[in-house]
């Protein structure tokens, strides 16, 4: 067991990081906001925490918290003006925000620029391992499990269904949208801070457009009706590129160099055949086992 962990520790931890990232986009998707700035929020968390542990000799946990808060703060400042946008306009604005952050990092020498930022090059080493990652994932999963069925979660669902009707039910739509956006950024910031100390090296390329799309794919493949879906999607889509390493090289075409093709095919298949992602499978299994019970949402009405 420990041998298996040692051989695959980075991959195992990466699954956890990606699951946290998938949860960070799940919360904005749960109120129908297509925000693509999660990779940028991850970058802010990563660089903030890395600077604190490396330059100011902070311990890991305070640095993770500071990275998360910094990411949340930036999202709050940015979130207030862009929450007026919706749909594709919001997606483009948040994507632009992501690029601005990435290009800013490239041009800041103190952050290592495009060369990247190396952690733990001195004698003092501050690292994160799978334990830290999965402990944090557990905490965040707990948050989401308590969120479910709460007043806030019902409000987010109502906003997702019909924003104006939600307004006239007394729901402060702007507040909840900003809250969802900032929460997503904080969660992504945590993932970034852990990622930096897991890999001991970060560069602007880690947090670019590809990362933003990957995170969206995790959530869509897993399903956006429940938070469990996001985790399922992240696990599958992180392990899949490893699984296809066993595919033989045919006619000089090596698929393991092109894992994006595989991800694209899976995404297409899920959108076409499983409208609620992997959750569709889980939900129908549930229905077979307990046919009378409702799967999502409130407890059943008492007779």
């Amino acid at each position: 067991m420990s041998e298996f962990y040692n051989a695959n520790s980075f991959l195992i931890s990466l699954v956890g990081i990606n699951a946290i990232m998938a949860l960070s986009i799940y919360i904005t998707l749960s109120c129908a906001m297509l925000s693509l700035s999660n990779a940028a929020s991850m970058a802010i968390g990563a660089y903030t925490a890395a600077l604190l542990t490396q330059q100011l000799a902070w311990a890991l946990w305070p640095a993770v918290v500071a990275g998360a808060l910094m990411s949340g703060l930036v999202a709050l400042v940015l979130g207030l003006p862009i929450m007026r946008l919706s749909g594709v306009f919001l997606a483009i604005a948040t994507l632009g925000f992501g690029e601005v952050i990435r290009i800013a990092i490239v041009n800041i020498d103190a952050l290592g620029g495009s060369e990247g930022f190396r952690l733990n090059s001195g004698d003092r080493t501050i690292e994160a391992s799978g334990w830290e990652v999965y402990g944090v994932l557990l905490l965040i999963a707990y948050f989401f499990s308590r969120l479910k069925g709460s007043r806030m979660s019902l409000a987010l669902q109502a906003i997702r269904e019909d924003e104006n009707a939600a307004r006239t039910m007394g729901i402060n739509v702007t507040f909840y949208k900003v809250a969802a956006y900032v929460t997503g950024a904080i969660v992504a910031g945590i993932a970034g801070a852990l990622y930096a100390h897991l890999r001991s090296f970060i560069s602007p390329g880690d947090f670019g457009f590809q990362r933003a799309v990957d995170v969206l794919v995790f959530a869509v493949v897993g399903g956006t009706l429940a938070w469990r879906g996001a985790i399922m999607g992240a696990v599958l889509m992180t392990l899949l590129p490893e699984a296809i390493r066993v595919v033989p090289i045919v006619g000089g075409f090596n698929i393991k160099d092109q894992p994006e093709i595989f991800s694209g095919v899976i995404l297409l298949a899920v959108i076409l055949f499983l409208p609620n992602g992997l959750l569709t499978v889980a939900l129908s299994l549930n229905r077979i086992r307990r046919p009378a019970r409702k799967v999502i949402g409130h407890k059943e009405a008492s007779p």
Partner: protein, 269 residues
């Protein structure tokens, strides 16, 4: 013009302060004035009907009252507070609730959840309290659930509580929307064509239900095309035509008003 009995009836309702006071309400869309200088009052416990031909501006008035559309002129006062510049969620929290002409339920949520969401502004407990399993949150959620079930029983929907709202038949969706609007415990309920798509028996049952609500002290503002429902239900009626309020009075007065007859049927010429 007015019979002594009717004059007395109006004086009886107007003696108290109005719950809703609309003054010179105007809404222009570019050059098109959809609603022009409309003024009327709704008193506590009163059922006020707003009628008029298609395109007269009735829904525009309702949208302005509920805060979905900012007026371009005039004032709206509700429970002594100006609401014409207030965001919709605060108007709802003040006790003004509404239904929609084209039903707007939260389709993927359960019937019960729809009514629980209707109580959003009444609930206080925060997510932080829920994270630590605070008993206050549990009590509040339990109370909201019980209240929702009571409202569903009154609407005859209790057996469908766990169904998704979109799975309900049309008539039941209308009933659910009314239950959701009542869940906030409003002082004034705006009903935008509540009998649309209903047959005579259903609309009569709706009339009885609304009458019961009004007798319980709830004020109603009803936009409706079903003339027999409006005539039997409303204490007073305002008539909109091309964005102007052309007549106001008791149902009997309105039925006799030559301007109203002209607006609906056209003049002899």
């Amino acid at each position: 013009m007015m019979s002594p009995v009717e004059t007395q009836a109006i004086e009886a309702t107007t003696s108290s302060k109005p719950l809703l006071a609309v003054q010179e309400l105007t809404r222009a869309f570019g050059g098109l004035v959809a609603v022009r200088d409309v003024s009327f009052d709704v008193y506590p416990g009163e059922v006020y009907g707003l009628i008029g031909p298609n395109g007269a501006g009735k829904t525009t008035v309702i949208n302005m009252l509920s805060g979905l559309l900012p007026p371009t002129g005039g004032t709206i006062t509700f429970r002594g507070q100006r609401i014409d510049r207030m965001p919709a969620h605060r108007i709802a929290a003040l006790g003004l609730s509404r239904t929609y002409q084209n039903i707007r339920l939260f389709g993927a949520m359960s019937v019960l959840q729809n009514v629980v969401v209707g109580q959003h502004a009444r609930m206080r407990a925060s997510l932080a309290e829920r994270l630590v399993f605070s008993p206050r949150v549990r009590r509040e959620e339990e109370a909201a659930r019980r209240r929702a079930l009571t409202l569903l029983e009154e609407a005859g929907l209790a057996s469908l509580a766990s169904q998704p709202a979109s799975a309900l038949a049309y008539g039941n969706q209308r009933r659910l929307e009314l239950a959701r609007a009542l869940a906030s415990g409003p002082h004034l309920l705006l009903l935008d064509e509540p009998a649309a798509g209903m047959n005579a028996a259903e609309s009569q049952a709706l009339g009885t239900r609304l009458r019961t609500l009004a007798e319980g002290g709830l004020s109603l503002l009803v936009v409706e095309h079903d003339v027999s429902l409006v005539m039997s239900l409303c204490d007073r009626i305002g008539v909109l035509n091309f964005g102007n309020l052309i007549a106001e009075g008791t149902p009997t007065e309105i039925a006799r008003d030559p301007q109203v007859i002209e607006a609906y049927l056209g003049s002899d010429e």
